[in-house]
């Protein structure tokens, strides 16, 4: 594996996560010319569903500190946390996707926060579990099916790993304020 998840972790004492061996590792070795076409995604789970974001957009992964709720903020905003002195908002993925709010209970039970690096600064996604980094050849990413409506806007594509579906999200569209404010 080219890049361990450890690089993304804030806590040095973080215990390691069992990382399944990426599926397409061998293929990359066999055909080096295709390496450019391979994209890496960070997979995570929220409310039983598997999602992924381009690893280039991930700043780091942190264990959630206490989240301070922000009064009168949109529902998707679970609150703010401090990361090395800076404040950053953390979001509920389900609300961002328009799948209903998971609320503060989920925030309290959250296992990890994926900190995304966006053009507008850092923002956190509260997730149940961070699973693995997968490498997918660009050609194997399917275009999302039509007819999902406005909700599908953050859905960039669908990938398959180990025979399971993976919803690949576009961080920019996901955090687009017009959708959740």
């Amino acid at each position: 594996m080219a890049r361990g998840l450890d690089d993304f972790f804030y806590d040095p004492d973080e215990e390691g996560i069992d990382l399944p061996v990426p599926v397409h590792e061998d293929r990359a070795l066999v055909a080096p010319a295709d390496v450019d076409a391979i994209e890496q995604f960070l997979c995570f789970r929220v409310a039983g569903e598997r999602y992924a974001v381009d690893i280039g957009a991930v700043h780091e992964i942190v264990r959630p500190p206490p989240i301070t709720e922000v009064p009168r903020s949109p529902r998707a905003v679970l609150g703010v946390i401090s990361l090395r002195g800076e404040a950053l908002p953390v979001f509920d993925v389900l609300s961002l996707l328009g799948l209903g709010a998971s609320g503060m209970e989920r925030a309290a039970a959250a296992r990890r926060i994926i900190v995304l690096d966006t053009a507008d600064g850092l923002a956190g996604l509260v997730v149940d579990e961070v699973e693995q980094v997968v490498r997918l050849p660009r050609g194997e990413i399917e275009v999302p099916p039509a007819g999902l409506g406005a909700r599908s806007a953050p859905l960039k594509g669908i990938g398959r790993t180990e025979g399971r579906l993976l919803a690949i999200l576009d961080p920019v569209e996901l955090l687009n304020g017009e959708r959740w404010k």
Binding site: P65, I67, R72, G177
Partner: protein
């Protein structure tokens, strides 16, 4: 300095160069006057050093600005002075003449530079050439008498003599020649604090003589301590030296000489001047100010902010340890050191804050220039009166203040001050008056823009407000005068019957108000019809670090900037009255509107409702004040406000978040916004439609 000036400074103007060069030349000529009074072959070493530094500075400065002729002369002069201070050239008429000429020639060269001539061929350049010849001949020693070196007679360890700089050796020789006694003062200091001890020792020795050199003592090393030898030359008796060092652990030894040289009688002529700087007298800095990118200051500020948080954590650990099993004196010491750290940090914080401060004149001057142009375009005769330009504010605030102030001034010229003819008819002087002023009041700065124009017509304001649907016609009559003026700051309000190029349409005082609110400030308006209008802006001095009151609201902690807290008062729920749909209490015979933060933030109340007593944090900015009802007070902390992040954007009533340590994040209330929101939310103010 010279190596720093490698890149041509673009920002620095020629004026700056001229002013600085002028300053150096003036300093040079002042020092020169002193040398003129010294008689005899030896010039006062301090004076020569000062002259040397001036020449060096001038050379460097000229080099930075490509004034080559000036630089060359400075260089020649520097060489001469160097020889002089090393004792290689005696102070005589030729040297003094050259130095005196130099002042005039420098001045002549400077006027060349001012006229754009930097290379040569001018009259001044001719003078400079002549002077350089003079300097060259002055540097030729008339006759070098190869006398026996008096230092050879001194019982000075050759290893010590070997490390003296040429200048130090020269000074030592001069002292011996004039019959002064040479003492070696040896003292050991703690490694951690030797600089302090050494400067104390040097300070005392300077009282009684000249410090020739300060050297780490050879061959003396003992663990954590470091030993220094200070060589002192003095005409005073040994007893005075001992007296000066009373109370210090210093070994003093006089260096003996083999044969007593001549001139003992001449010795106690004068008290030697304080020692020149060691290390061959480094040149004094050319420029006394440094331009710093504000971003760098912000980073420093952030670090200071994090230190403040770390300090708070440390103190709470110390506090927690108090009752534990560790010995009392250890925890007491920890606490004391913590307090010590706290004080130093406060100084550091104040220092960094101070660096960010700039005088308001920076923006006032700009506004004055703009005002003249605007007044001319509007064909109005206006006199500007500025005061308080020296009041200082955070650089960022000063920059952000420019636009709102410009807007207020334009408004005053456009709508406030009448045309000269109208003013004459009204019995006022033809020339209108506009005053721009600033005063500091505690942690706030009050900036005022006032005019002696026609004032604001409240009836007209009401008419427009009703026309635009800002207020219902039926409610209009009930509005107080102050409420009417508040309408001016509503979005989309403009009373100008004719839209002028200056004030434009649509963008008005609401933008000013928003800009000011973004700086955590408020704006008030006072007006008297026919007499004038006064806009009063109240701003915090800085936004970087503030003290905050931490309060509890429904089990959550919030921070209220202390600079807007007037007092904290307890009240009985039974005393709460309702006035025009709003809860109020009486506070010393004044009515204080209450804002229940829990309700404002729609938080679920914790614990049983209907407590008999509550706390109100009385906050105020400008003339407005309200009581924020909280459930409890948690303490007072220094906080660094961080924005909530652009992804989230602004949240009404929240100025930002602050990290209180231990990963605890607390929201900081935006008192200005809450005040505004509360006052606007008054039922009869509510917008219709």
């Amino acid at each position: 300095m010279t190596d720093k000036g490698k890149g041509k400074p673009k920002s620095k103007s020629l004026d700056g160069f001229l002013a600085e060069a002028q300053e150096i030349i003036e300093a040079f000529s002042r020092e020169l006057l002193k040398i003129g009074r010294t008689t005899g072959g030896e010039a006062d070493p301090d004076t020569v050093n000062a002259l040397f530094r001036s020449a060096h500075s001038l050379k460097g400065l000229a080099g930075m600005f490509g004034a080559s002729r000036l630089g060359a002369l400075g260089h020649a002069l520097e060489d001469l002075l160097d020889e002089l201070r090393m004792g290689r050239v005696p102070m005589n008429g030729a040297v003094e003449g050259a130095l005196l000429d130099a002042v005039d020639v420098f001045a002549a060269l400077l006027s060349d530079v001012q006229a754009g001539q930097t290379a040569g061929g001018t009259e001044a350049a001719g003078l400079a050439d002549a002077l350089e010849d003079k300097i060259r001949s002055a540097r030729m020693p008339a006759a070098l008498v190869a006398a026996a070196d008096p230092l050879d007679a001194l019982s000075l360890d050759p290893s010590v003599r070997g490390v003296l700089t040429e200048y130090e050796e020269h000074r030592l020789r001069e002292n011996v020649k004039t019959g002064k006694a040479i003492y070696r003062a040896r003292a050991a200091f703690d490694m951690a604090s030797f600089d302090k001890g050494l400067s104390d020792l040097s300070g005392r020795l300077k009282q009684v003589g000249e410090i020739i050199s300060t050297l780490p003592a050879p061959g003396v090393a003992a663990g954590e301590r470091i030993t220094f030898d200070v060589l002192l030359g003095t005409a005073r008796p040994r007893s005075q030296v001992d007296e000066a060092l009373a109370g210090l652990e210093v070994q003093v030894a006089e260096l003996e000489r083999a044969a007593a040289p001549a001139l003992p009688a001449e010795a106690p002529k004068s008290v030697p001047a304080p020692a020149p700087r060691p290390e061959g007298a480094p040149s004094a800095p050319l420029v006394q100010t440094v331009r710093v990118d504000i971003g760098k200051l912000d980073r420093l500020m952030n670090i200071v902010g994090e230190l403040v948080i770390a300090k708070s954590n440390l103190l709470s650990v110390a506090e927690a340890l108090k009752g534990e099993r560790i010995p009392t004196e250890v925890s007491a010491q920890l606490f004391r050191e913590g307090r010590n750290l706290e004080r130093r940090l406060e100084e550091l914080q104040a220092g960094v804050l101070d660096v960010r401060m700039v005088p308001l004149s920076q923006v006032f001057d700009k506004l004055a220039r703009m005002l003249r142009k605007v007044a001319r375009d509007a064909q109005k005769d206006i006199e500007l009166e500025v005061r308080g330009g020296d009041v200082e504010l955070d650089k960022l605030i000063v920059e952000e203040l420019s636009d709102p102030l410009m807007h207020l001034i334009r408004n005053a010229i456009d709508h406030g001050i009448e045309s000269p003819e109208t003013r004459e008819r009204a019995g006022k002087p033809r020339r209108g008056k506009l005053a721009l002023g600033a005063t500091q009041k505690g942690n706030h700065v009050v900036v005022e823009v006032s005019d002696d124009g026609k004032g604001i017509d409240r009836r007209r304001v009401l008419e427009v407000a009703v026309e635009r649907g800002l207020v219902a016609a039926s409610d209009a009559a009930a509005l107080s005068e102050r409420d009417v003026l508040a309408l001016l700051f509503q979005p989309g309000f403009s009373t100008a019957r004719e839209v002028s190029e200056l004030s434009g349409r649509g963008v008005g005082l609401d933008v000013v108000k928003t800009n000011i609110a973004n700086l955590s400030g408020v704006i008030d308006v006072l007006t008297e019809e026919g007499r004038g209008t006064q806009m009063v802006i109240t701003l915090p001095i800085t936004l970087a670090i503030l003290q905050a009151l931490i309060v509890d609201v429904s089990g959550r902690a919030y921070a209220i900037p202390l600079n807007s807290v007037l007092e904290i008062t307890a009240f009985r729920e039974a005393d709460v009255r309702t006035l025009q749909g709003r809860e109020v209490i009486d506070l010393r015979h004044a009515t204080l509107p209450l804002v229940r933060l829990g309700r404002l933030f729609r938080l679920e109340p914790e614990g049983p409702a209907g407590a008999a007593q509550g706390f109100a944090v009385v906050v105020g900015l400008g003339r407005e004040r309200i009581g924020l009802v909280v459930d409890g007070l948690l303490g007072q902390r220094d906080v660094v406000i961080k924005p909530l992040g652009r992804v989230l954007g602004a949240v009404r009533g929240i100025a930002g978040a602050t990290d209180l340590g231990q990963r605890k994040t607390v929201l900081v209330l935006d008192v200005g916004a809450i005040l505004t929101e509360t006052l606007e939310a008054e039922p009869r103010h509510r917008q219709t439609g």
